[in-house]
């Protein structure tokens, strides 16, 4: 790699491994928010280059208008650079002579391997090891994730750091209304046969992977309804990956819950905002979490949180949520009956700030990247 001439370090953000599917949607939101912050506050000290060979995700579209950021469709046009930031695991641009920070938020195969196939475990392990081998620093999404990686891969603690997914500024300032419509004309509607306007509901924003535990939740929901009677809240699954939604829809129908459980495809930020605002509580009994994004969103919208008792959730919420054992439908149902007991989550959000988190990343980059010019 040739020497660079700029006094500001040239930092390449490689977005190449971000998938277009709903699975990586939280990552899109995360990197979009962080890049937005870096572009606004750090371009006097950093040159930002983004490598994105495919179609630009909507979450990054606004960055294209920022004159301080260079977009490159291929590595050939980038030229020399001083630091590589890989947005999701290993990078094809890796070069042993250039410092690299890699984002490695997903520890599913280490924490809950039973939820994925043996082939997927092997592939995730291969990618994680490749990432660790390439990287000078590993960026994670929680203290818990850092500890898992340190333990499993023997990484020195000083080469790991974490920042949180605080991305609620992605929600637009204007409000839209939930549309109640028996014959949908848009992708976002609430069928009137299922929901009357104003019906209260639990919101479960998760894409429907096995770790999200939707089937156990549906069983729990049937139990909850039997106990709660006519006052029972409805249940809305949002941001479902359309392919993953099929068996969930099948289970919902088999459980005779069609009139009470709504399954929604991925939504725009404006639609998500409307859905969040109208919800009564957030219900996330997943067996493992990587991004923690929905918890920060719940704090932003000041919603009670019912969630699995897991270390990364304790890390950010302490005792400010209703915990449950995600493996036991009866325990999930028990927790669903208690949303009124949840403390307000908005105060917690005061402890977290996107600027602080993004600044942490910027400082790490500056410390590591020594401009050759």
């Amino acid at each position: 790699m040739a020497e660079t001439s700029s006094k500001r370090p040239r930092v390449v953000f490689d977005l190449g491994r971000l998938a277009t599917s709903e699975r990586d949607a939280p990552l899109h939101a995360h990197h979009g928010e962080y890049l937005w912050h870096l572009a606004r506050h750090w371009t006097d000290r950093l040159e930002l280059l983004i490598l994105n060979s495919g179609e630009l995700f909507s979450e990054f579209a606004f960055l294209a208008e920022h004159p301080e950021i260079e977009f490159h469709p291929s590595a050939e046009s980038i030229g020399p650079f001083d630091l590589l930031y890989s947005a999701n695991g290993p990078s094809k641009l890796a070069d042993p002579s250039i410092p690299q920070i890699s984002y490695l938020p997903d520890t599913l195969h280490l924490e809950h391997p039973d939820s994925i196939s043996h082939e997927e475990i092997a592939e995730r392990e291969r990618l994680s090891r490749e990432t660790v081998a390439q990287s000078s620093l590993i960026h994670t999404s929680s203290k818990h994730a850092s500890q898992i990686l340190a333990t499993h891969y023997g990484i020195q603690p000083e080469t790991l750091f974490h920042t949180y997914f605080i991305c609620h500024s992605r929600f637009p300032s204007e409000d839209i209304q939930l549309q109640f419509d028996a014959s949908p004309t848009s992708s976002f509607f609430v069928p009137t046969s299922t929901f009357r306007k104003g019906r209260p509901y639990f919101l479960t924003p998760a894409n429907g992977e096995r770790r999200d535990n939707h089937k156990a939740l549906l069983v729990a929901y049937r139990q909850y309804r039997a106990n709660a009677g006519p006052d029972a809240l409805a249940l809305v699954f949002a941001n479902l990956d359309p392919e993953l939604a099929k068996p969930i829809r099948q289970a919902r129908n088999a459980l005779k819950l069609q009139d009470h459980v709504l399954l929604l495809d991925p939504l725009s930020p404006a639609e998500q905002k409307a859905l969040w605002q109208s919800s009564s509580a957030i219900l996330l009994p997943s067996v493992q979490h990587n991004s923690l994004l929905p918890f920060f969103d719940a704090m932003h919208f000041e919603k009670p949180i019912i969630a699995s008792q897991l270390a990364p959730i304790d890390e950010i919420l302490a005792d400010q949520y209703i915990p449950c054992d995600p493996r036991q439908p009866q325990d999930i149902a028990r927790a669903m009956a208690e949303p009124g007991k949840t403390p307000p989550t908005a105060k917690l959000l005061a402890s977290f700030d996107l600027a602080d988190e993004a600044n942490e990343l910027a400082k790490r980059i500056l410390k590591l990247a020594k401009p050759a010019g």
Partner: protein, 374 residues
């Protein structure tokens, strides 16, 4: 009426569900025309590279037995997509392995052994929870009728899916399992009571749900306090997450008369029942309580945890104790060996309690149930 019986689990190391499938198939062949039966050694997702160790019954067809498992897999997939019919063209397909494959135009009958994967997930594996959960939810859609092996399993189903059977009107039958091992001669209780080498007996897969660790704690306490100091005999195959229990057995066996026999054949198991002093059943949860029934048939007083399935056998047949409290369980064991009259009475009651259980009765009840579904 042509009936296909799922015996896929009998092709590998057998545990409760496999013994259930084997016993049911054997009994069906005794009470129904064998020509009306089919044995399925490959069943949906449960595929056996070598099905030959599975249940065999003379004069009952076994269309998957000689089929390569990859062919069987392709056939089940073709049935699932509506492109093929099941071999033998059954009217009824009876699932005994928690699986709910598509069965074409046949009626699927789904046996609910237990719902431990929801009620006690901490004792199993997550992979098993996902599989059983998915398959049971599929059964809600696909099964024409449900078979519960005990009132306890029916009650668990109701607790997990309240009102579902009533709301859907889906037929179901509670037909309790039968007795698999029949004693050739009833051992003399007085002789066993007098013999200090007649052991306490545990029979069951070595896995956390069986609560063997608590039993070992209770046995240690018993051994400290007992004047008789009977040995402890443990029988059962290695199950999931059993390593810590095996370590504990190995450690204790260096200083206490504990004998772990592992998996044994039926003759060895019968001999153990025949010479045992009493049976210990510390399980957290059971769907039925197969080994309790076997012990009762051998006139063995049984000391059990008060789980719902054990309680179904009745207080006359069993004594209950909390194995989680070693002193309480040890006291119950000491009481058992301190009173010959009570011991003899319990032994007689045990035998009486086992008498009504027969696989033929279960098979007849199921045959009548199948008829209602057609």
């Amino acid at each position: 009426m042509k009936i296909a019986i799922d015996v896929a689990q009998t092709c590998r190391a057998r545990a409760g569900c496999a013994w259930h499938a084997d016993s049911l198939a054997q009994a069906m062949a005794r009470v129904a025309d064998p020509a009306s039966l089919l044995l399925y050694h490959q069943f949906g997702l449960w595929l056996n590279p070598d099905p030959s160790p599975g249940t065999h019954i003379d004069s009952v067809a076994a269309p998957f037995l000689k089929m390569d498992y990859r062919q069987a897999e392709a056939l089940w997939q073709a049935v699932d997509s509506g492109k093929a019919q099941l071999p033998g063209q059954p009217d009824i397909v009876h699932s005994n392995s928690f699986l709910s494959p598509a069965v074409g135009t046949a009626k699927l009958v789904y046996t609910v052994h237990d719902l431990c994967f929801w009620t006690h997930p901490e004792h199993g594996t997550e992979r098993n929870r996902y599989l059983c959960q998915s398959q049971l939810l599929l059964a809600l859609e696909r099964a024409a009728g449900f078979h519960f092996i005990s009132q306890a399993s029916r009650d668990d189903f109701e607790a997990m899916l309240p009102g579902w059977l009533e709301e859907t009107g889906r037929p179901f039958l509670i037909a309790r399992s039968g007795l698999r091992l029949h004693p050739s001669a009833v051992p003399d209780p007085a002789q066993r009571f007098a013999d200090p080498n007649s052991p306490w007996l545990f029979v069951g897969t070595i896995e956390p749900r069986k609560n063997l660790s608590a039993l070992l704690d209770a046995y240690q306490r018993y051994y400290e306090l007992s004047a008789v100091k009977r040995p402890l005999e443990l029988i059962g195959a290695e199950g999931w997450r059993s390593q810590p229990i095996h370590q504990k057995i190995d450690q204790l066996a260096t200083r206490l008369p504990i004998r772990y026999l592992g998996r044994v054949d039926d003759d060895t198991l019968k001999a153990s029942y025949a010479r045992a002093f009493a049976h210990l059943s510390p399980s957290h949860h059971e769907g039925f309580g197969l080994t309790i029934l076997e012990a009762l048939a051998y006139s063995l007083p049984t000391l059990a945890s008060p789980n719902a399935a054990a309680r179904e056998f009745g207080a006359r047949a069993l004594s209950f104790t909390e194995f989680e409290h070693p002193q309480m369980a040890a006291d119950a064991m000491l009481a058992q060996e301190s009173d010959l009259a009570a011991y003899t009475r319990q032994a007689a009651q045990a035998r009486e309690s086992a008498a009504p259980y027969s696989w033929e009765n279960t098979a007849r009840a199921l045959l009548a149930f199948y008829e209602t579904l057609l």
